[in-house]
Amino acid sequence: MFRLVIRRMLAMIPVLWLIATITFVLLRIVPGGPFDAEKSLPPEVIANIKAKYHLDKPLTDQYLIYMGRLASGDLGVSYKYVDRSVNDILRDALPVSLLLGFLALTLATTVGLTLGTIAAVKRGTAIDAFAMFLSTVGVSVPGFVMGALFIFVFGLWLKLLPVALWESPWHMILPAVTLALSPAAYLARLTRASVLEVIEKDWVRTARSKGLPVNQTILRHILRNALIPVATVLGPLTAILITGSFVVEYIYAIPGMGRFFITAVQNRDYDLVMGTTLVFAVLLVIANAIVDISYQILDPRIRIEG
């Protein structure tokens, strides 16, 4: 297992490099640049600005300059937020998204796994149907709609929770719930399906037909096998949550990293796009490594290396 971790860390470097390179190229290919403005500038002024950011140099030079800075940990500067470095911007935003994502992940996992298991065990009953209904709602209603509804119901109407912003732990509840809805729904359905797979295996049926209650030992065996598909999606799910869904942070006015994924691309803020992409990639790789390690714990027959 230790070797797995080391191998993964080493494998991260070429992966990150590849991601950085592809993103760099994509940014330059897409039409529209950071200084195309509604009130356009005289070409001489644009030339001045471009020179300031080395954008007048040939692409290969720009690439090497960027990679050189990246190697020393400097993620560059933002064109839109003129006085700020990408490192500073992300340093402020990342912890917020991490916290929000972690809360949502905990919520989604707890609720999703519980609901899914109960639905599978009580298959065919009203509980199962209700769980199915809930999870369908969770996945077919877009996040911004649920967010707006929550704000109205819990914030304005019932006045139980803060409407928006990020000031106290109570402010974290609604955004975390909104963010957790869709993953919880997906996890519930996935858990249900994989628990069902296992619960109908011969040995389980034999045990149950012999009168063994579906408790403790049996459940532990069921869960262990059923959790593999669940663990699978937990990887990318984690990363997506942590980078703080754009929608949730937008609706609740939370100063996280999610918004940059969209606004930085729209602004063609090259270094900020690269920075957020790389942070996301690192988190993703870490999450996947954790997932693969958990496979080993859940099912020792699986052998994964590097």
């Binding site: 002024v45 001045n48 937020y81 006015a253």
Partner: protein
């Protein structure tokens, strides 16, 4: 199983406690003592007024700084740092006499040299300032900024003494005085900027001379300003100005309803809520100096034929815009807004579908037959989709023409507009200063923002004359003639509507004055009964 049950119970308990606790928060009154809470909706890209061009940045800077002059609510120029000024040599030289008692927040006096430093920095090509072109009327400014002249001292900016600031223009200019109230022309501190570089705008280094001081800046979240006790016009009556950055309109409006914001404008006001609150005593609507139009590529068929352009412009019933957009828009059939000089009802093009069809037939497309494929380009921002759908519908009804709509991602749209303007496109222009020059200049031959690529020497001539004219009435007449020519004779553009500002002000806020340039000053506000 037991573990699961316990954790669920725990979660429910936690939820219950939290609900109980939040229910416990109550206060005596809905407002925060001596504090104004507003939403600026986005992070200001920079608080360095020489570098930034963003209106959000200006919202903050307008309350931190004063320049040579300042805008009154009627948008005339009143003294600020300058107590008086003279316009000499037929409008070519402006001499400002500064007050001697204006201080920076660190106690140093504001002098003419601070203005000189700021203006030169704006024009210095190394700064890369996007609003440098505002000062291009100054002698040698264009040459210096574009690198034709290397020596900055040749630019027509002088300080005869510590409290006199003098500008020499290339040619007389009727609107130049407005630029002295404009954020990018405010004074700057050479010592501070050179010492701290990019970080001089951090709250711990920031130095300003206006009604408020920069107290806190939580990026992407909020900015807090506090009253400046040494402000020359007297300390503001409010202690704190909290500017939140809430991007979603609906959320911001919910916060206003929940008494967590005291004043909101378009940025925090979704359209359905505008409708619902029209009759409320807290609601105000004023027209802005922001015009919207449909532009034609006048260099390409079929819009190179002015009859086709006129047909399109006449086929649009402009009264539908306020009905569909529901934000109190003012239909516009001329380009200069009614609030400015040079506007005249006679410049307006009339809605006449019969005549429009006749013109179209004259141009060779009777009843729309044979009309080439034309797409209307628009960026997917806010209500633009509704506007262009409405126009598409009007053209179909009144001219029997199908104009497909082509939407683009914002930057792809801009790039296309700059490189190869489509045949028909939706455009918008917000005034930089309260003078018709900013609107009329847009369609002159050499204006870099003239996407219609229209070039008419008669029009150019009218605008050039009007710009330099010092007599107010003569100026107005010249602009009027130009406007009529632009919209009624040649239909280079089809103006659609004037945007408006929709706002709500809580009853405990007194003294907010809205103006057509949408500049928001809070130094005279009071909060409370």
């Amino acid at each position: 199983m037991n573990a699961m049950k316990t954790s669920i119970c725990g979660l429910l308990l936690l939820l219950g406690i939290s609900i109980f606790c939040t229910g416990c928060q109550r206060s005596d009154h809905a407002w925060e003592q001596d504090t104004l809470r507003i939403n600026i909706a986005a992070e200001p890209p920079s608080l360095d007024w020489v570098i930034t061009t963003d209106s959000t940045s200006f919202d903050v800077i307008s309350n931190l700084m004063i320049g040579l002059t300042q805008y009154t609510p009627k948008l005339t120029c009143a003294p600020a740092c300058a107590q008086s000024w003279e316009i000499l040599e037929g409008g070519r030289v402006y001499r400002f006499h500064l007050r001697k008692d204006v201080l920076w927040s660190d106690g140093k006096p504001v002098t003419a040299h601070d203005f000189e430093y700021g203006w030169r920095r704006l024009l210095n090509p190394a700064t890369g300032a996007q609003y440098a072109y505002f000062l291009y009327d100054i002698k040698n400014a264009f040459a210096y900024n574009t690198g034709l002249i290397k020596d900055g001292s040749q630019v027509g900016i002088r300080c005869p003494d510590d409290y006199t600031f003098e500008i020499e223009l290339e040619k007389p200019s009727g609107y130049f005085i407005y630029l002295s109230a404009f954020c990018p022309t405010m004074p700057q501190r050479q010592d501070i900027i050179e010492k701290w570089g990019n970080h001089w705008t951090d709250p711990e280094h920031f130095v300003s001379n206006g009604p408020f001081l920069l107290s806190k800046w939580e990026h992407e979240y909020k900015i807090e300003l506090v009253a400046n006790p040494h402000f020359i016009e007297g300390k503001p009556k409010i202690e704190k100005l909290k500017m939140f950055m809430i991007p979603e309109q609906g959320t911001a409006f919910a916060l206003y309803e929940n008494n967590q914001l005291d004043f909101i404008d378009n940025r925090s006001f979704p359209t359905p809520d505008v409708e619902r609150n029209r009759t409320s005593s807290e609601y105000k609507n004023i027209p802005l100096l922001r015009g919207n139009y449909i532009g034609f590529n006048t260099q390409k068929v079929p819009f190179s034929d002015e009859r086709v352009r006129l047909a399109f412009s006449m086929a649009i019933d402009r009264t539908i815009f306020p009905k569909i957009l529901r934000r109190g828009e003012r239909p516009q059939a001329a380009w200069i807004p009614p609030e400015l000089i040079g506007y005249s009802k006679d410049s307006e093009i009339t809605f006449d579908p019969v005549k429009a069809r006749k013109l179209l037939a004259d141009a060779g497309f009777p009843d729309g037959r044979g009309f080439p494929k034309v797409e209307l380009l628009y960026p997917n921002r806010e209500d633009t989709k509704l506007v262009v759908e409405a126009i598409q519908d009007q053209i179909k009804r009144n001219l029997n023409l199908q104009v497909p709509l082509l939407n683009q991602e914002w930057r792809v749209y801009l790039e296309r507009l700059h490189r190869d303007p489509p045949l028909v496109f939706r455009g918008s222009w917000g005034a930089d200063y309260p003078d018709p020059e900013t609107f009329m200049n847009l369609f002159t031959t050499h204006n870099g923002n003239n996407w219609t690529h229209w070039s008419d020497p008669y029009y150019d001539d009218l605008v050039t004359k009007a710009r330099a004219e010092q007599d107010k009435d003569k100026r107005a007449k010249l602009y009027e003639t130009a406007d009529t020519y632009l919209c009624k004779s040649k239909a280079t553009i089809a103006p659609t509507f004037l945007s408006t500002q929709n706002s709500m002000i809580k009853p405990w806020v007194h003294g907010i004055d809205l103006n057509a340039l949408d500049l928001q000053f809070f130094k005279t506000i009071t909060i409370g009964n």
